[in-house]
């Protein structure tokens, strides 16, 4: 029994070493072989990402994590003098993994909500994209009530659903929840829906910029009421890590003021992604 346990932990240790190497950002591949010689003996900060959210976190064809979240994470790490090591994690077990100390921070477009604040801490927001209503171009629109009788799809459990149920349903809009935003687009395409309420960035990349979205456009104002949409996206940390939280908050302030943030944002967006 003892023997078995020993060999299991040996296998574990070997595999861990292997994983560590493959998950390090590509340029670090060479130094990984000779850690002592590397000038950057900075302590690691393990950052969890779920690279399935283009353009915020996704992987390039050669397997490198990239996107706005990843760039922000690198910039923050540089400020607090740590070496970012990215850990890929599925969204469903993001918070359990943080609590199990598999990593120290989540920088993966996680919005700051009341529910999450009960189990993790958040830094200040580092971005907050507005949402907006999308319908066929030419649909008459004066105020929300003019959408009465229209069928709009929303992502189940999303901030947009909260908004739609709070503001659109009362004026007679038919709000239909979906398991995934992609399914909303498929149903718009097949004519079962008149439109959607979605994150501006998401809907631009996933629908409006594609052939099936060419007849559709935004109506109404950009939506960002805190009541529905919350504060924005923050870096999630384990509760009680106040020192790290203060460092990251300071780093966010620094990159906001020294131009690093705007320079990174310009790579991905043509509007102010930080929000108000």
């Amino acid at each position: 029994m003892k023997h078995l346990f020993l060999s299991l932990s040996l296998v574990g240790a070997a595999a861990l070493v292997g994983c560590g190497k493959s998950e390090a950002p590509a340029p670090a591949a060479a130094p990984a072989a000779e850690p002592a010689a590397a000038p950057a003996a900075l302590p690691e900060l393990k950052v969890a990402i779920d690279p399935t959210y283009q353009p915020f976190t996704f992987k390039t064809a050669d397997g490198k994590p990239t996107g706005f979240d990843v760039d922000i994470a690198e910039a923050l790490c540089k400020e607090i003098k740590r070496q970012c090591v990215f850990v890929e994690q599925v969204w469903d077990s993001m918070i359990p993994g943080l609590q199990a100390k598999k990593y120290d921070a989540i920088i993966s477009s996680m919005s700051i909500t009341e529910e999450r604040l009960q189990v993790v801490d958040f830094s200040d927001k580092y971005y907050s994209t507005p949402s907006q209503i999308v319908v066929k171009t030419g649909t008459p629109f004066t105020d929300l009530a003019s959408l009465k009788g229209k069928k709009l799809g929303v992502l189940k459990g999303s901030t947009q659903e909260k908004y739609a149920l709070g503001e659109l349903k009362p004026v007679g809009v038919n709000v239909v929840p979906y398991e995934a935003q992609d399914q909303v687009y498929l149903d718009i395409k097949s004519g079962r829906l008149d439109g959607t309420v979605a994150d501006r960035v998401e809907v631009t990349g996933g629908f409006l910029s594609k052939p099936e979205g060419k007849d559709y456009g935004f109506v109404g104002p950009e939506l960002n009421e805190e009541k529905y949409f919350g504060i924005g996206m923050g870096v999630a940390l384990r509760k009680g890590e106040t020192q790290l939280k203060d460092e990251i908050n300071a780093a966010i302030k620094t990159i906001r003021s020294n131009g690093t943030y705007d320079q990174l944002a310009k790579k991905y967006f043509d509007f102010d992604v930080y929000g108000k």
Binding site: L8, V11, G12, A13, A15, L16, P51, T52, Y53, Q54, F58, K59, T60, A61, D62, G63, V87, E88, Q89, V90, D92, S93, P96, G97, Q99, A100, K101, K102, D182, G205, G206, K210
Partner: protein, 228 residues
Amino acid sequence: MTGYYASILQGALLTVGVSLAALGVAILLGLAGATAKLSGRPLLVGLATVYTTLVRGIPELVLMLLVFYGGTIGLNHLISLLGFKATVDINPFVAGVLTIGFIYGAYMTETFRGAILSIPRGQMEAAWAFGMGRFQTFVRITLPQMVRYALPGFTNNWLVLIKATALVSLIGLKEMTYLAKQASSATREPFTFFLFAAALFLVYTSVSLWALRWLDRRFSLGVKRSAA
């Protein structure tokens, strides 16, 4: 584009590795469970019954989260209570193999138990009459005949097990479904990559079916073919 396909293929290798290793664990647990259930000793029967009832009754997803994250959080808590600064990091491959093996061991227990019950009792009694011990009887008489009776149920369990490996992404392993999801989100072409992953699953299951059919023929040698 080809890079994404390559990464999904790599994920497929992991899927094969996890499923085969988990199958090994499941077979061992299944044999142990089935013999325990048939042993007639109250303690062993009780233990095995608790095992199969609990595991078959709880969704796999919940078990996986419970075992992996619950276990790690508990261990880390214990370590910090003892005053150490280190943190435990359970290797996800080992954890995935053990969890899936543990779950499917319960299904295998029932499959093997049913198969052993299908063997006429006279076979074992004859072996004992020849002076074979319990272990010898099991290896020489029960096991080879059990395989034939167990294969249909075993095949079913195996196919479900293969697809259950898609859950190990939950504990941080990059298996092919998760990699397909990453690729489809990066390119915003969901169907291309999911279809590719589905095709890989189909190849894997087809090859297994072919191998299992061969095994079935092999273990049915000397048995008169029934009307089927």
